[in-house]
Point group: C2
Chain length 324, copies 2
Amino acid sequence: MLILKKKDIIQYVTLNEVLIPIIEEAFISLSKGKTVMPPIMRIDIEKYHGESDVKAAYVEGLDSFAIKIASGFFDNPKLGLPSSNGLMVLLDSETGVIKSVLLDEGYLTDTRTAIAGAIASKYLSNQDSNTVGIIGAGIQARLQLKAILLVRKINKINIWARDQVKATQFVDSLKDLKIEINISQSCKDLASVSDIIITTTPSKKPLLEFDWIKKGTHITAMGSDAEQKNELHPNIIKLCDTYVPDSQHQTTILGELNHAIKENLISPNDKFNDLGSIIIDPSLGRKNKEDITICDLTGTGVQDTAIARYTYNICKKNNLGIKI
Amino acid sequence: MLILKKKDIIQYVTLNEVLIPIIEEAFISLSKGKTVMPPIMRIDIEKYHGESDVKAAYVEGLDSFAIKIASGFFDNPKLGLPSSNGLMVLLDSETGVIKSVLLDEGYLTDTRTAIAGAIASKYLSNQDSNTVGIIGAGIQARLQLKAILLVRKINKINIWARDQVKATQFVDSLKDLKIEINISQSCKDLASVSDIIITTTPSKKPLLEFDWIKKGTHITAMGSDAEQKNELHPNIIKLCDTYVPDSQHQTTILGELNHAIKENLISPNDKFNDLGSIIIDPSLGRKNKEDITICDLTGTGVQDTAIARYTYNICKKNNLGIKI
């Protein structure tokens, strides 16, 4: 059994193009129904403004599967601690024997989430999209930005965040990218000048209205991963040309789709092509340049299994970690 | 962060009376509603006859909580491996920081399950019960037997197992107890001579009928922890004097109660006093010597949190484990 620490993992697993086909494969398996992916388990600790989620997925034919704990404790920064934390456990599919505990402190979750964003834009945005608008200024905002550069030639970045100080810090921290960066005064302003919009906030109220969205825009909404979270006005889901969930089972409960169903804008019986099916057949996604496309990402266990397996294999090959 | 291996844990955590009040406290918290205990997560890997369950519980006021992975891969013995496996993760309740990974390989689950059995008999069986019938011959059968000796003066043990060879091996392995042990020819025979009956099998068909049960018997049914498992004829739940679930929410889905509800013998709206409420007020349990009482154990996350916290504290105090 191999214990891998974050310091081991970051040596070999970084946010780069190598991970794209690995996470694409995961979405394909999910779409083909070749997975056992139970509903997310969630432990809410309201008193401390914290939550721990457990996700897991077995993919048919793979010799191992992951069970992941990801925690968000939102008062931690006041204590000088990061909000996110967690680990992944890799189990042998045939015997249940534990092959590895990956003490990644949430790093692998952040990484596979960013890669999913890159995949969404790769398949759904117009190929010539060159401006991106990022709503939010947290860790995932930064990673989504880095990830989109893997798939689109971006020459202008627009940022909006509720907290102006954080927005400014975020811009300062991105200077090494040597890409023009502007702080938008509102989400409406941001939408008016962005080909791709990525929402990465924990907002409980919609930040974007349908009327603000330019023709041809692709939006990846990845902030909502809980019942009450909501970044897009539910109308957008109804009026857009193509809506794509990572897992419709999950977005119905946790994603933007949840709110559109609750407001009777979408029937709970409507079936949408998921991200995996678009990867298999991109013609199911964007039909023409003017389309407005939405990808609703809640984060899936198959992504965790994919990145945990990759990390274990590459670290083992390089003799990293503590054997127990 | 402390990594604890099974060899560390077994030095300080053994099946003894010290654990009884610790697990009792857990049931009390659950009964009082002072816990956040999400539904069990389950990953079934049918191809390999395996399953991994995840259980978790936060108990209000405690500074840490556990998330547990427990696997059962039932073809493992053919490969020379134990069926059970798993680990527990202990998290800080205030920050989500991981305090410990307990690589117990299922040992703590086995132990807290046995202690729950002892607690059930302590509160529900007649004080002068001195014969116990064990149905099943696996690890948990052995542990339930050891556990009951902590709470009742047993002078005769009856065993029944489907596999006669295993039953004989089981009896041989118990010779050091210096208690009379008999192999029963049937579950009916066993029931006719046992004051307390403990069922510890993965049976999918009832093994005990109501008519076979002596007046005054207490039964702890702990084999059923999945929808299709069933050890007691559903009639027993209806006709017994007192039915006690560990968690009615769980036994409705996974326990013996599940089958009684499915056969319309019990209304899904009926409310039963759970084990925690019986510990708080034993008069809610057995009313007189002739009563037939049933305790339906599916295994709860609060037991895991209780034993993980105890194990972490005692191992840390004794400088065991690997600090990471």
